[in-house]
Amino acid sequence: MSAVIGAPHIDTRQRAERSESVWRAAAKRFAKDRVGMVSLVIVACFLLLVAAAALGLVASGWQTETGVPNAPPGFVGPDAAAQNQAIVGPTGPNVDISAVDPLAPRYAEWAEAAKKYKTTEAARATTLPFGGDRLGRDVLAKAVKGAEISIFVGVSAALLATLIGTVLGAISGYFGGKAGDFLEWVYNVFTAIPGILLIFAFAAVFGRGIGSVVLILGLAGWTGIYRLIRAEFIKHSVRDYVRSAEAIGAGNVSRMFRHILPNVSHVVLVQLSIHVVGFIKSEVILSYLGLGVGVDQVSWGTMLAEAQSELILGYWWQLAAATAFMAVFVTAFSLMTDALRDALDPKLRGLE
């Protein structure tokens, strides 16, 4: 009877004594980091932009040619009208050649047929908010659409690499023995080939497209995560709490992913976030080289590829737009990652 009365009392006391969870403590530390919070807001804005672009709310018409070719930005003002003066049209009267023209009887028929097709030559703006590209497409819309693709590829590839690295690292670190040796061998093989060559080799066989780029970067980039997760699992698999879990009958998979993984998940999260930045940069380079996204898509990399030849002609705005978008996002994301690492692993604070 007394046990029944006493039980709630003990329960509340235990709850009071229970220290706050790792995540809550980390969130508190993160909230105090002003740089981290600002960068988090910027990253969140970008992600909203990406979501809006993916849903077609913004920049869905990036392929429409709204301005004149290479339209300058609005704040620069339109190009001086110095064109169409090179060729002077003939001034004499037209010669009537209908008597000898073999096609003459059919002109009326064709004119009739042509009326069925209407082309509307939309009025093209002479300036666009941040300029236009070679075809007169709005650079700003392209940069937004490019952000969608580049960020999507970076995040997906990082998720893939983290998934591969975590699962293999967990197996290798937890089981050790034959499975561990085998995975170590796989790891050695993947790290023996320099990263960029590995990416090229994958690119040679997988071809182009968003899916391929995600696959290429994910398959070539999981090794670092594997290494760290394996070390964590080796350390944790002999700890008391894992042995206790074993004692109450938790199976291998349960111990690996329900008991150990939450305890090393901060490592996973930080690695995920570090890899996002790296993969975005890689995607930009791959797309620039023509090994990335398809020709009917736009990413920051394809924008830079176009911008290179435009720059020589003095059209700097596409380069500026792609660079600015990428620089802001990557800087914010790296600073957020730093803050995240500091918050989750206070021991590391101050190192680099």
């Binding site: 061998w185 796989v186 050695n188 093989v189 993947f190 023996a192 080939i193 320099p194 960029i196 060559l197 590995l198 090229f200 080799a201 994958f202 690119a203 040679a204 066989v205 997988f206 940069k281 930009v284 380079i285 620039y288 080289l289 023509g290 090994l291 920051w300 990399g301 830079l304 911008a307 290179q308 720059l311 020589i312 380069l319 660079t323 990428m326 620089a327 802001v328 996002f329 990557v330 800087t331 790296s334 600073l335 190192l351 680099e352």
Partner: protein
């Protein structure tokens, strides 16, 4: 030492075998049919089959792997599918250009980043330190491509200080005329991450007790930094340089593409664009072999730098 070397070389065998297996399976499993690529788009089924026969593609998988192994061991890669140039010749003629650019980059990079890193670490926490850290974060966030595009445009096209691109047959002309701009740009770009990295290495060492002891003995700051801290920080720095060493052979392919330098990196990229499988396979495997040898050499070098290191 000899026993160590033999054991390390013995350990390379399974890894190398794995690399060969990976490359073989990758191109066999996911790559297009070489016979169709080789025979061209207008080939009849009989022609494709003849090419398959010739390449041994109708043999069982393990026989094909055996042929592949034999090619690697005898260095007989046949010819590039695109240019009909022998792969060995391709390797030999493209390597000098890559080294002409990459060796100066590596040397300049290390020579500049080490003092920068030491300097920034020495004034850690100060305004200089913090502003340099912010600056490098921002500098790092801009794509490498942008630096090269703008650098090439500004220094070569606008100011005309360097040729925009080009290459010659003479090493001296290359070094004096064509290499400086790519080397300077690449060094400038890699300086930011290197400085950050080396700063953290130096910071690790500066926090140790022996530094305090050295200062307590009355040694000058110069001696403490250059003799005590520097020598200890050399170990991670050396590792870092060694990690980057194998990439010297791949070259900075972007630099080579931008400046039309006929090096290995550009060749690999061309091969990828042309689906020139023999070239890509050969490069992946030989560069992997070179990487392993360089890693072994680094481990031996540790022993020379730091007598405390015991090779096991």
């Amino acid at each position: 030492m000899t026993a160590y070397l033999i054991r390390r070389i013995w350990q390379m065998v399974p890894t190398m075998f794995g690399v060969i297996l990976l490359v073989f399976l990758l191109f066999k499993g996911f790559g297009g049919d070489p016979a169709e690529i080789l025979a061209g788009q207008n080939a009849s089924a009989a022609q494709v089959d003849a090419v398959r026969q010739q390449l041994g593609l109708n043999e069982p998988l393990w026989t094909q792997f055996w042929i592949f192994l034999k090619q690697i061991v005898t260095f007989d890669w046949g010819r590039s599918w695109a240019t009909n140039e022998s792969v060995a010749h391709l390797f030999a003629t493209r390597l000098p250009a890559t080294l002409t650019v990459m060796v100066p980059i590596l040397i300049l990079d290390s020579l500049l980043a080490i003092p920068f890193g030491l300097g920034v670490a020495y004034v850690r926490g100060s305004l200089t330190d913090r502003s340099i850290m912010v600056l490098t974060t921002v500098a790092l966030s801009i794509s490498f491509l942008v630096y090269v595009i703008v650098g090439q445009y500004f220094f070569a096209f606008q100011l005309g200080l360097f040729p925009v691109q080009g290459w010659s047959d003479s090493l001296a002309t290359n070094l004096i005329r064509y290499a400086p701009l790519p080397v300077l740009l690449a060094t400038a770009v890699s300086l930011a991450p290197q400085t950050r990295l080396y700063r953290s290495f130096f910071l690790d060492e500066i926090g140790h007790d022996y530094v305090r002891t050295a200062r307590a003995k009355g040694l000058t700051e110069k001696t403490v930094m250059l003799k005590h801290v520097m020598r200890n920080a050399l170990i991670p720095i050396l590792t870092n340089i060694a990690v980057g060493l194998p990439s010297i052979f791949v070259g900075s392919f972007l630099i080579e593409v931008f400046f039309s330098i006929p090096g290995l990196g550009r060749e690999v990229l061309l091969a990828v664009n042309r689906s020139d499988y023999p070239v890509i396979q050969a490069f992946a495997i030989y560069i992997a072999a070179i990487t392993m040898v360089v890693n072994l050499a680094t481990d031996v070098l540790y022993k020379l730098v730091d007598p405390r290191v015991v090779l096991k």
